[in-house]
Point group: C2
Chain length 209, copies 2
DNA sequence: TACATTATGCACTGGCCGGTGCATAATGTA
DNA sequence: TACATTATGCACCGGCCAGTGCATAATGTA
């Protein structure tokens, strides 16, 4: 007799999805303030009133959207860090890993999310903080774990995994990230490649046994 | 008979200064949209109408404010990069330089400016681009020049000064900068110190002759 | 002092948009 | 089919704020 087994009207959930899917690109493109609930409703193919039926306020809608996007970014980046180890020659593997990681972090959606969160962090500091914990911070932890395994294999000499992970990450994509945040249009693919390659090379020079 | 020699009414210039001085902290604290011309006028101790006498629109006011702030940041950071070389033992000098640089870039005003520019870069992309050119990019160029002199002195081995400068900068403050942009409140002084020290040490391991 | 330039105060317009209320239509469940 | 839940359309309120117009006062120059 639990409620869980009863069939529910699928329309609210469906509308919710439509709205969230449409709202994310809207917020990414225009920011929070400049986005209108009406505009999002139109983009979702739904009445403005329906949005308010499902989300009490525009703030709540934004929070839901960002929460979802944070989860997506987290999965997207972390799963690449946790890919297999020792599949090829070490030097090549590190370079490939650096490139994959740089491409993930510097992908348009991830960058756009970061910019949005930074821009709105005055209004939604908790969202920016949550993003920081679940993306950059958690990703660095995953990188640290990977580096530690290389250490155990005798391929690197790592004293402090977390610090080494930071050095790896920001050598590989720090400059490009900074540029992407301020001048998104100038981040051509070759910059990502060059930055990742040069950064990984320097990392290896500093952390080889 | 040139106009330049004629004495002008000092009031407009004075009001301009008052307004610009009051507007910067206002914009840094609230962003562009949430700042009101009325609020800025009050903070400047000036009538709202006076603001409109001197700045055609709120956009123009913002542009003037940011232009000024960009120049300030540029000077503030660059003059520290161009300080004397060879005043003490090399290892200590690099560590001190790293710390000075990290403190400059991560100073509250510089960070706040960066956050503001990133947040408003949808509305004012030219301002963000100008900031990028005149601050991060120009500063990296100055660091590159400094590293090149260390190379000439045989203290470092630098192949590509610009790339080495990026590696130095983001090793020293990349992680802290990322954190500061998303979670400004958690940037305690010891983080800056630790980050600068660890980053400089790694840099030396990678770039010593 | 006489004249010109600025600053001020204040009322006002116009546009934008978040959020609401309600009657009606559409669509789901049983 | 009968009933309940949602979705829709639309008019509407209220607040906020950029920007304006103007008459008056204050302050500068000569």
């Amino acid at each position: 007799m639990t409620n869980r087994e009863q069939r529910r009207d699928p329309r609210p959930a469906r509308s919710r999805e439509l709205i969230l899917d449409a709202a994310l690109p809207h917020f990414l493109a225009h920011g929070f303030t400049a986005s209108t609930v009406e505009g999002i409703a139109v983009a979702a193919g739904v009445a403005k009133r329906t949005v308010y039926n499902l989300f009490p306020t525009k703030d709540d809608l934004f929070r839901s959207v960002i929460h979802r996007s944070t989860e997506t970014s987290e999965r997207f980046i972390t799963e690449r860090v946790e890919s297999d180890i020792g599949v090829g020659e070490f030097h090549d593997e590190i370079l490939a890993f650096a490139l994959t990681h740089a491409r993930a972090v510097l992908s348009p959606d991830v960058i756009a999310t970061r910019r949005l969160l930074i821009g709105e962090s005055r209004i939604f500091p908790e969202l920016a903080a949550e993003y920081f914990e679940r993306v950059p911070s958690a990703v660095l932890q995953a990188i640290a774990a990977r580096l530690e395994r290389y250490h155990e294999l005798g391929l690197l000499h790592i004293d402090d995994p977390r610090t080494a992970a930071e050095h790896f990450a920001y050598l590989v994509l720090g400059a490009a990230l900074d540029r992407a945040l301020l001048e998104p249009r100038t981040l051509e693919p070759h910059r990502v490649t060059d930055s990742a390659t040069a950064g990984a090379t320097t990392f290896l020079r500093a952390y080889s046994p």
